[in-house]
Symmetry: C2
Subunit: 298 residues, 2 copies
């Protein structure tokens, strides 16, 4: 058997094969394209997106979800995404999860991913890496990202089920919540629910959801640090496969669109662009739009 890259079939029974496949895809090493095309998706693994503002306790919740799922004898993959934003501390995400000592478990695979792409937000690489995990036979895939700005919209385009984690103090903001949030979140999780005003906040949120949408997303209360309320979230995840099937086409189209975008831009030589711009800028009549119509790539 030849040792060509596309013979790597990532399999959760062998974490090294998964890690290697991810590295090949992340860095677009030789054979990455072949590897992706050879992926098979025999198992319909649910991809759970967990997002929310900094400080909402996402990592603690992920830890707690993992513990509960492990007790059910599941194999779990975690992709902790760092949108490399100054306001959040994404690169810590994977570490925070890893620090919880019992996750030296052979059943939990954790990978951190920093995405500083010129494409903004979650990169096309994220899609490809999530697909590697989906093809690896895990029972659950958790994708965690600090969700402020654009990233929580993009995680919703990547995950089958998106959980939006908030804290009771988010109260001021919730008054201004736009319908966009309802489109993104399949469930709201009010974490740190032992804090003051948690009930008030939860009820207000429920009221807002009802006003906007019949049968809107459910609201769960958790105290992730004590694993309280986490079983209810797991039950929701298990019962939510209909959500996934309803929008499979849309999700896949969004993913395809992103990947096409990445491929088209691969041929744009950024260095050359910068050099030609520098030359053109020296002229006082410089106009960017005329420049782009010119033959700058030649």
């Amino acid at each position: 058997m030849q040792n060509t890259v596309h013979h790597i079939q990532p399999n959760c029974a062998n974490f090294r094969s998964v890690a290697r496949a991810l590295t090949i895809v992340e860095n677009d090493l030789t054979g990455a394209g072949e590897l992706l095309k050879s992926l098979t998706f025999n198992k319909d693994t649910p991809v759970i997106g967990i997002t929310g503002p900094p400080g909402a306790g996402k990592s603690t919740l992920v830890n707690s979800l993992i513990s509960t799922l492990l007790a059910g004898n599941n194999k779990i993959a975690v992709l902790a995404i760092d949108p490399t934003s100054p306001f959040n501390f994404g690169s810590l995400l994977g570490d925070r999860i890893r620090m919880a000592s019992h996750f030296n478990s052979l059943n939990v695979f954790i990978r951190s991913l920093a995405t500083r792409g010129s494409l903004g937000g979650l990169s096309a690489k994220t899609i490809e890496m999530a697909d590697v995990l989906r093809a690896s036979g895990f029972d659950y895939i958790l994708i965690e990202t600090v969700g402020v700005g654009q990233s929580e919209i993009e995680i919703a385009g990547l995950a089958d089920i998106t959980l939006l984690v908030l804290v009771p103090e988010s109260g001021d903001e919730i008054q201004n919540i736009k319908s966009g949030l309802m489109e993104i979140a399949d469930a709201f999780i009010i974490n740190k629910a032992d804090r003051a005003d948690a009930d008030l906040f939860t009820n207000n949120l429920k009221k807002i959801i009802q006003q906007k949408k019949e049968n809107g997303p459910p609201v769960f209360k958790t105290i992730a640090s004590k694993s309280e309320g986490v079983n209810e979230v797991i039950n929701f995840i298990k019962s939510a496969s209909h959500l996934k099937n309803n929008r499979k086409e849309l999700l896949m189209s969004e993913k395809a669109y992103k990947l096409i975008q990445q491929r088209l831009m691969v041929n744009v030589d950024k260095k050359k662009l910068q050099q030609k711009i520098a030359e053109a800028l020296a002229k006082p009549e410089f106009n960017l739009y005329t420049f782009l119509d010119s033959n700058w790539q030649s």
Copy 2:
């Protein structure tokens, strides 16, 4: 004279011409390309980006900056950008500024822009609209956006000078600030500086900046609601043209890259993509990467 679109020369002496040019560009109406190519940039108008987390008081600061600049007999344009994120309330930005009654001034032009682009973050349209304003002869252009996630990185790619607005309560977050923030912010503004711990927070921030970088960005304290400290910010803006010149090439290259991306994607038929994906998904062996290599566009 023919009434063709590209004869519209947006001019701040005539707000209707500016508004019309913006509308043509925003909606890509006939002649938008010609209009952009005919823009002339005689005046080196500074573009000031104002960003920061929700609740930092950005709109109040913008109001205060406008008042002060108006007193100096300047013509000002404001572009309030809504990244259409559930966590922020961008569409209110323009309104909040407009509500301050004295801005029925003939010297302040305000435009709101919602950006829900599949490109993520600030769209290519934002670049084009900012360029329309830059060519209109204003003295100052202010671009305000809620800066969480990716958007504050993108505003830094659009503005000559980026002000990052924080509040003393941001203290917990500041401990974790990564160098990325220093790359983005040309100045930090601690707003609501009459709140508890404002001095402590300011000093901590200064210390962090010093550790990371000699001659790092300055830190200003403001109470925007009382216009306190705002003159210092204006003085900084006036003195900061060196910042702009230092990275003109980089800024322009980033803008060019975004615009190229937008143009390449224009030819991708999203509806057809979705339809073909729906057909392909019906087959159990569906693999997105094989699909993209196929001839789906034909």
